[in-house]
Assembly symmetry: C2
Homo-oligomer: 174 residues x 2
DNA sequence: CTCTATGGTTTGAATACTGAACCTGCTTGG
DNA sequence: CCAAGCAGGTTCAGTATTCAAACCATAGAG
């Protein structure tokens, strides 16, 4: 499967991955949330090569995750800013950072601590159910086909049904 | 920056990306949460080539995200299962799926709907503060160096301070 | 008229991925 | 006994991506 095919899969995860599912893009987004906005700054901070940076920024702009905003005329220069669609990636970024804090930090502890303005405390991000507010765990979530469901292979997060192969085997066995 | 250097950065996001920050790995993880466990099944469902699949599974096992469990002797065959560390990737997976549901779904709506066992309702995942339970937004989160902080370039998610370059400019201007 | 700043593009060499075929260990059927 | 099949890989040649370094374009400053 190639990148362009990925974006056409009827799976939200595959489609998201077609936009942000590459090493450099994720690092660029980290810096965007850090208020980095200019080509030269991304380049220096990330140690990314210039052609790749140009390519990834263009893709993100094409996908409406970033916008190019001119910040001066003559010579015309642009900076890259997160759109609403881009800002909505925040939970993904926070989830990635948090997993790294918990599972990839060295003995000395995490590189940084987050504090929440509303309560003033150091916190961890937590994923909860929008309806009841309880913390989500993979075993307590089931999935059913949505309005555009088609290919049953791509129903992710099914937790109680055996996978397709095991089903077939069990059928054969009985 | 190469993959191996990535994992040595003192940034939780970079370290996480060194483990899961590639297209195929993310798709493999999607299928893991779907209870897919065998080489042949991954290969067929994902349309990934066999050498790459073998390579990615090995990496995930080396990182303790998956374990190889024998499910039969003679011939010895293994399946791949999520470890605790792997299961903890659930919020990342859910955040990615949800963003795709909201921003990448076609006109016909999302491919699937999640229901939560505890409350029985269809829900969306929501990221909240572990301390006060309020929904997190990038503007309300600040960051300070943690126990192992070193390189100020990699403090992500700083929202009120201008980036390093703008700081330098303003200093020069004043 | 040259130097610097910013935001790129071009170019070969190195690296990674793809597709197809092949290998291993074992079971099953004839 | 031999052939075929299954599961889980590995090998190999060709193609696509990425890297590093250099170059280009626009414009202001000295």
């Amino acid at each position: 499967m190639r990148w362009n095919e990925l974006s056409e899969e009827n799976c939200s995860m595959a489609r998201t991955i077609s936009v942000i599912g590459d090493r450099w893009t994720l690092l660029i987004l980290r810096d965007c949330f850090l208020r980095v906005r200019r080509f030269e700054d991304f380049q220096e901070r990330l140690g990314i090569t210039r052609p790749i940076l140009a390519n990834r920024l263009k893709k993100l702009v094409d996908e409406f995750v970033l916008v190019k905003v001119p910040y001066q005329q003559r010579p015309r220069r642009y900076e890259y800013r997160l759109t609403q669609k881009g800002l909505a990636l925040y939970p993904i970024v926070m989830a990635i950072v948090h997993w790294g804090d918990v599972y990839m930090a060295g003995k000395k502890g995490r590189p940084l601590v987050h504090t929440h303005d509303l309560c003033g405390k150091a916190f961890d991000p937590m994923m909860v159910c929008s309806e009841c507010g309880e913390q989500l765990s993979p075993k307590q979530v089931h999935v059913r086909p949505g309005p555009s469901a088609k290919d049953p292979r791509h129903l992710p997060l099914e937790t109680d049904l055996p996978g397709p192969r095991r089903l077939a085997k069990e059928k054969a066995a009985s």
